[in-house]
Subunit: 367 residues, 2 copies
């Protein structure tokens, strides 16, 4: 019999038919074969390959001293935010939710790493809370460019993935990204249209995952876009000029500057870690999967899965990871079905918001 | 921007992103590797492997004489229909559409094959039209049972498929079926929840295929179930008793007996070869794919694809084929998304059928 609420039934059917945990690849310290990997891709289901990257040189070499030496004299782009919330929805004093990009600075890798480590070891810990949070998180294929001295320590592509995804050896991944920060940084819930392979190198990475069919749960509302900028008026350094501000972005005050001309952006407003806020009528039907990556573990994060990422630092007060993005397949019915779900969810939201207006329109038409 | 008609947009997006032909495997006379095959399964897209079964003993041995010898003395189950339309929607005099199963008889394979061949060679051809159509089409793993003498000429399972689909060597396919008939038989548009590998052994098989997302085009109406039965009253053999009827099912008159207690069944009412009849508001957006299998060709017919199959006879006046059914994966989002589409389509149909009733109900509630 057809369902009276197709969206609720979709969520229930999906959860009934799929495991409520992230699968663990049965062979410890091994990469999957292309065929084994394609089975996960084919089902668009995450899987963790424990220890699969354990023998990469990066895993053996990348301590703070090595990274400082390798990157000596190089400038890197760093995201600065008041609370570690880059590319996240920030609630304004007016109540408006704004998708806020970080304040971005360029500084020497050594200074950046010093700050990240010092921030982690601040005593008492809450002393750090007064300081801004720094995170190297430029997801623009930054490894071969900003961090090129580190590339020899990583495979340039993952052959099992390249072969499974039918890419030529020349192509390489769409992006190879480097991430470095501390426990104060959080990557808010979002999705990417890439097949993602994520490796924890130092520290731990904590993922919360939601399947693409859980779109109706995450409340993809359209919000304006903004960016953290220096608040010269209220900054404690405001009177000491730009130079002082540049020297210590950790202490300056940041405010949100809204992009008034930009198109509102659909972003998940629901946070699986704060599940009673910004809910939709379907949020309670979400079944977030949680998995922690330890050093040398690899996660297959399938295309279009929502993910929220937090981290714990390793022995030296920083967390560091790399990820490989491969193009997803837009053919088959997967992409088209996702758009269909979005359209049905969106139509439902509009019915909820303006029921009287719609009915009035129809009645007028009938007279 | 969200679409005002999500179903129409789904169809357009799917067709924009996928080829409008059945892909041909680039290596003639070869089976795919498990990895190559899984790429098609993963995308739920059909593919034809030309000549992949060419070297099977069945392709070399199965002429009429060999089949008669191998099957000598064995009885087989045969579908008998007035117009070759087994498991098809039949329009009654009242206008009612009924999903009609064939009249099923058991007879010796030799008699059955004689009938099929004679029917093909009837001159003038329209002389055959007065006769009922016979088709061996029991899709219940009939090869290892009814047709067991023929199994040595076929691989018991297809290793590339078994490995890709992650089945153990002991399991085998869910069913291995044998089909024999002539050009007068048609298998009406329907779908199966199996991954299907279909091989033409003698004659040609003509497939019309529609993707699962084209559900809204095929008009899956709920109709009552029926079965062709002997019409004793009007049969030309009615006075000569049951014995005579048993001797020649070719000439007896069949009528539809409706199962009055059964649940109505959802069946595609739209026929891609008669596209202006039994349409839905979406039928014109269908893009049926067409492919012909020649002797030794293999078709991958993905799970849940709608297919209509007709056939042309080979040199000896019969067409013969085999197919392997493997279990489809019900996890991932594929099955759940199909159910979701069905629910949305069904909700749309109900809105189309009773718009005034719905509105009246809402108005009453408001006063």
């Amino acid at each position: 019999m057809p369902s009276s609420d197709p969206i609720a039934t979709l969520l229930e059917t999906y959860h009934d038919l799929n495991p409520s945990v992230v699968e663990e690849f049965p062979h410890q310290n091994e990469e999957p074969s292309p065929l084994e990997f394609l089975r996960y891709v084919s089902r668009n289901r995450p899987c963790v390959f424990r220890g699969a990257a354990k023998r990469w040189p990066a895993l053996q070499k990348w301590d703070a001293r090595f990274l400082r030496d390798a990157m000596r004299g190089r400038k890197v782009r760093v995201a600065v935010t008041p609370a570690g919330n880059a590319d996240a929805v920030v609630e304004q004093a007016t109540g408006e939710l704004v998708f806020t990009e970080p304040h971005e600075i360029e500084e020497s890798f050594e200074d950046f790493l010093d700050d990240v480590q010092n921030d982690s070891s601040a005593t008492p810990p809450n002393k750090a809370k007064a300081r801004n949070v720094k995170y190297a998180q430029t997801q623009n294929n930054n490894l071969p460019t900003e961090y090129s001295p580190l590339t020899p320590d990583l495979p340039p592509t993952l052959p099992f993935a390249r072969i499974a995804l039918n890419q030529s050896a020349e192509e390489g991944p769409e992006a190879l990204n480097f991430w470095l920060g501390n426990a104060r940084s959080t990557t808010a819930l979002h999705k990417d249209n890439y097949e993602n392979l994520y490796v924890a190198v130092r520290g731990r990475k904590h993922f919360v995952l939601l399947a693409p069919v859980e779109m109706a749960c995450v409340n993809e509302g359209r919000v304006r876009r903004g960016r953290f900028v220096r608040d010269c008026a209220s900054s404690s350094f405001s009177s000491s000029g730009a130079g002082a501000v540049d020297d210590d972005h950790g202490s300056e005050t940041l405010k949100v500057e809204i992009d008034k001309d930009g198109e509102p952006l659909p972003v998940p407003l629901w946070d699986p870690d704060d599940p009673l806020k910004h809910t939709t009528p379907y949020s309670h039907l979400a079944q977030p999967l949680r998995v922690t990556l330890y050093e040398g573990d690899m996660l297959y994060l399938p295309a279009m899965w929502y993910h929220k990422v937090t981290q714990s630092v390793g022995d030296e007060g920083f967390a560091c990871a790399v990820n490989y993005w491969y193009d997803m397949a837009f053919d088959s019915a997967f992409w088209a079905s996702n758009c269909f779900l979005r359209d049905v969810v969106e139509a439902g939201r509009q019915r909820v918001v303006y029921p009287e207006l719609d009915l009035a329109g129809e009645e007028e038409g009938g007279t």
